[in-house]
Symmetry: C3
Subunit: 108 residues, 3 copies
């Protein structure tokens, strides 16, 4: 068995929940706060057989991978030369995953 810890953006949490439930993979979810940006994120703890680690990595990657998104800023950026607000590209999502060894696993 391995313990997988996945730190993901809050906004991707429900997608990941649904994908894990689909595959009957149980998880425990912790409310967490990120580093630099202090953004709210979510940490999933998943105890899993080593044979399924790659499968879980694929699910996390598919649900949470960093991607670019266009957003139109509601307010003008300082230094902008016109009144018109243009869409800008921002990165959303992303995941950090740690796989830890486990000595033993019990269910009572």
């Amino acid at each position: 068995m391995k313990l997988m810890l996945a730190i993901i953006q809050e906004k991707d949490a429900s997608t990941l929940q649904a994908s894990l439930n689909d595959k009957k993979i149980t998880f425990t979810q912790l409310p967490t706060k990120g580093g630099f940006l202090k953004a709210k994120n979510s940490t999933f703890m998943i105890g899993i057989d080593e044979e399924r680690v790659q499968e879980v990595l694929d699910i996390i990657k598919e649900s949470c991978q960093a991607r670019d998104q266009y957003v139109t800023p509601a307010i003008e950026l300082p230094g902008s030369i016109s009144d018109t607000s243009y869409p800008i590209e921002v990165q959303v999502g992303g995941a950090t995953v740690m796989v830890l060894p486990m000595d033993s696993f019990y269910r009572f």
Copy 2:
């Protein structure tokens, strides 16, 4: 030293707290959410000498083991053939415990 992670039902948390305090076993408690049912649960982090792992497992088992309970539903179930509400058996409690190796432990 080992790190023990015990995921238990919220309703069993105070019993487990009292039992661990009794044995002078320190712990840190994390509010967590379960998988399938999204039920509120609680995760205990316990850093412990390997010689005491079995003792802690016994305490968790005693405080949290899954057991059946009879409850009388407040509302009628669909398809029931009478007005009378009968007690039904439900399972409560239960614990998932993971024991992880630790390289080193410090107290400042």
Copy 3:
């Protein structure tokens, strides 16, 4: 890579955050509750290269080490022999740090 778990007092959390940010060390923060005293504390999860474990230990020690502080009680202690409130010494801070081995680490 190693996973470092640091359980510290809530009141030292912003100092530790600033010190880790200074060194560009990313972390994830979990709201936690302590054992005996049920005091609110904070757990930092830090995934770090083994070469930097000692550096992180030094940062935690500097930000959070247990120290004595004088406080003047607002109310009289039972059994005190006068009206005058004297400053008393109390211990604040302190940290518990666990270093765990890691099999693998991913960023998506």
